[in-house]
Symmetry: C2
């Protein structure tokens, strides 16, 4: 890439004018100078933007041409010819159209590194949950005031009018009807999201109800185990080689009346991750971020911190850190727990913070606490660009921001993704990783959809393969992978990357 | 205001950590230190934000208390108690509710300085146009394919089936029906803006049709003259003392078949401004920004530039500068005209630029050309925060940004005003002025509504009277008022400001 040699001349011109007060005078003779200054300015912004510090080799340049042809075509069709621009629309209404995009198809093939912000029980596709999980034996259904509840039993309890789901499904029209209701209760998908979720509160209400519905049958130990396997499989299929999963470590159950909590659940997850790695040696691994709902009191938090210490001690490298999750605007603010979290100097925080449109309110200030509590990464950080001092500190301390475009749109922080404030973070090359948050709840899968939205809707039209590659590189660099493991992870990534370039070379060339 | 003495200690802490790599260690003994750092960070951001450099005197502090009580109450009711937050909603649906807000009522009383970004024939309230202008004699109406056309005639032409409007209105139900249609054709107001203007193109289509409808009867010389007087009256009533109005200098007509163009129109405006000032000595004055629709070719632009030179020569202090207006995304880009505008070193540009959601496209790049063409102020600059280098230059060269919140919302750049990128400009104290663009077309009047939206929806909850005062001060400082005139303008403003403080003291104290 061309070096930016012109910054100084630009600076001189503008400083000169500032000092002398004399406007820059162009005359016909120096029109060329106008175009040079203009090109330099564009170039200087491109060079400091996300990915501007990467250099592409020859093969990458070819792949980039193909990628950018597709990107320009899609964007320019919308800008010049009024074709629908997908990142403008709510993801819930355009998911299928995104799948038709050439840019999306390229992104799907591209290795993406790590999945760093995803909540475990919201990460697998609905199809799997519906067609695999809910078709297992021993699953009972009960209708409470128009809402279904599903749970596995050997013998159902007396608290509800339970029916064996498989029996009901013998009738095809009932099966159809029940499946529709199940899908509706585990998904944000709706024809008219603007009406259904007219504000953030309504979106969050529905969103939280999905977790409640899923909890009772996903906590069945055999399901939970296979679910984790499937989660890694869907990630792996989307060219992800490593994941840091936020988990509340739910209490699991089996048909024999056993309960599994805390450390037991970590062991169960770890065993299944290892089972997956055995089957897929190209997958690097998983770490957990123990994440509990923030709507707790100090006593409850102390209990969680105790559990955290216990699991961290048992599996120091498998457990990466701690987080508080849930609808941040509804509090409590992070500062409420500062004095409890402060002494935990050995505990790595990955705090959700600033997932809000409010400016100057408690949720917004959570960003300050996340930084003061030594967060390694910040979950969402949607409100960050409103905080110039925090932005400075973030850059100095190299704290990564976990950006989840589709989540922010579905949960109604922003409607047109071109208004997502992360555009500014990309313009200034902040340490960003893109993630998917809860893809299973809105019909996404892996990271490709969120990469697409970020690349097409939030970054500049000019952002190219360097920016996509940087997203992947960042996801490994800002992960909790140890230095030793990192070498191995990058070796896997580099191999995948070369395969991707070959595939681009083969499939897309004329 | 407390000075920021703590920046250095913060810097030391964070730099130390950066250098040593040792995380900041807190223990129980230094919890206080956490709260001090936290307060310092908040304070340091407040001090660099818009208005943070102003100091309030005792009377202002009292007024500020009243203002901030109202602001906190309104915001906190929305944040904590799920009450409707007005800047979230489309202005077209909440205008009446805004009028009930105590914050709005205080802003209405506050002197606002100058109106710097408004298009003349879109600036007067609809009530005046409907009940005054369209009830004048000699106004004829004609229905072309369901669209009304209004024009003044002595004897109507043969190109349409003209009817004297006053005759039709003798029938009350016809009057009612026609008035509804007239209002609809001169206003963006609709019950469901999200449906009616589902994207920017649809909003702009309607928007442009309003100008076409207004043009044929507003260009009647007696109406145009009174309209200007009314424009200044409504501004003055909203505590505005000076205006820089964008005008295309439309060709005026009278009943005798005379046409008035270019310089004649400037003279007509100037005469009516003087008539207004005679009646209202507290009003400082007006300057014009000659503004033509950007959808022209180079020859047409040359014609405009010739007219510009002619009117500037005739009225050097009344004519402030030049602009190209209209739907920026539809082009042509500003760069198309760079070589024509470049040699006009004596011409002050006030270019619309970056009024777009698109990032990296031509409209976005207009920002670069506006700066290179030595714009004194930038109209909208909505896309600015995505351009870190341009932002630097803007600050160095002290180029003001004309922010028009309601316009940006109604024309569908942003739906929830909390997502307006100007939050970032406010956070870093960029030279911003708030203006109203085309208030008459969406039921606003003067600057109060836009000040309200900026203060409540775009600035931080913590932004206070200093920020509002700074908006007013900026509007004078970044105007084209000469140094000599400036002293007089500030004298008028200062007097109004003291009256405002007295009124706050009297009316709002218990």
């Amino acid at each position: 890439m061309k070096m930016l040699q012109t910054k100084s001349s630009l600076t001189i011109i503008f400083s000169l004018q500032l000092i002398t007060g004399v406007p820059i005078i162009f005359d016909r003779g120096v029109d060329d100078y106008y175009w040079k200054l203009r090109a330099d300015l564009l170039q200087s912004e491109e060079s400091i933007a996300f990915g501007g510090d990467l250099h592409l080799d020859e093969n990458e340049i070819c792949a980039n041409h193909i990628l950018m042809c597709a990107k320009y075509k899609e964007i320019d069709e919308a800008f010049y010819n009024q074709r629908e621009f997908l990142p403008r629309a709510n993801f819930l209404t355009v998911q299928k159209k995104i799948e038709q995009s050439d840019v999306f198809k390229i992104i799907q093939k591209m290795p993406k590194g790590a999945l760093l912000h995803a909540h475990d029980v919201a990460t697998v596709s609905q199809e799997y949950v519906l067609w695999n999980v809910t078709y297992r034996p021993d699953l009972y259904v009960c209708d409470i005031e128009g809402k279904l509840k599903l749970q596995f039993f050997e013998t159902p309890d007396k608290y509800c009018n339970w029916n064996l789901l498989s029996k009901l499904r013998v009738n095809a029209s009932i099966e159809n009807e029940i499946n529709k209701r199940i899908l509706n209760q585990m998904s944000m998908i709706t024809d008219d999201p603007a009406r259904a979720y007219s504000d953030g509160d309504k979106a969050w209400e529905k969103f939280q109800s999905l977790f409640e519905f899923l909890a009772s049958f996903m906590r069945y130990k055999p399901v939970f185990e296979d679910y984790y396997y499937q989660l890694l499989k869907e990630s792996y299929d989307d060219k992800i080689i490593y994941a840091e999963l936020r988990t509340p470590l739910p209490t699991l159950y089996d048909l024999n009346g056993n309960k599994y909590k805390g450390l037991d659940v970590v062991t169960i997850i770890k065993d299944n991750v290892e089972r997956f790695i055995e089957d897929h040696p190209g997958f690097h691994g998983v770490k957990l971020i123990y994440s509990k709902n923030r709507r707790v009191n100090k006593q409850q938090l102390n209990k969680y911190l105790k559990i955290y210490k216990q699991i961290k001690q048992a599996y120091p490298s498998f457990v990466a850190g701690f987080d508080l999750v849930g609808h941040e605007d509804k509090g409590p603010a992070l500062k409420t727990f500062a004095e409890q979290l402060l002494p935990e100097t050995q505990m790595q925080g990955f705090f959700h913070a600033g997932e809000t449109d409010w400016y100057g309110l408690e949720t917004d200030e959570n960003l300050i606490d996340a930084v003061l509590l030594n967060a390694k990464r910040i979950g969402h950080g949607y409100a960050l660009p409103k905080h110039p001092k925090l932005m400075e500190i973030l850059k100095e301390r190299d704290i990564a921001i976990e950006l989840n475009p589709i989540s922010n749109q579905v949960l109604n922080l922003v409607s047109d993704l071109r208004n997502h404030p992360a555009s500014i973070l990309f313009a200034e090359n902040y340490p960003i990783v893109v993630s998917s948050d809860d893809p299973g709840l809105w019909g996404a899968k892996g990271l490709s959809y969120d990469f697409y939205e970020a690349f097409m809707g939030i970054m500049s039209r000019n952002s190219d393969l360097r920016a996509l590659k940087k997203l992947a590189l960042n996801s490994l660099l800002y992960s909790s992978i140890s230095d030793d493991e990192m070498v191995k992870a990058f070796r896997i990534f580099e191999k995948q990357w070369q395969e991707f370039l070959s595939e681009m070379d083969e499939k897309f060339q004329p």
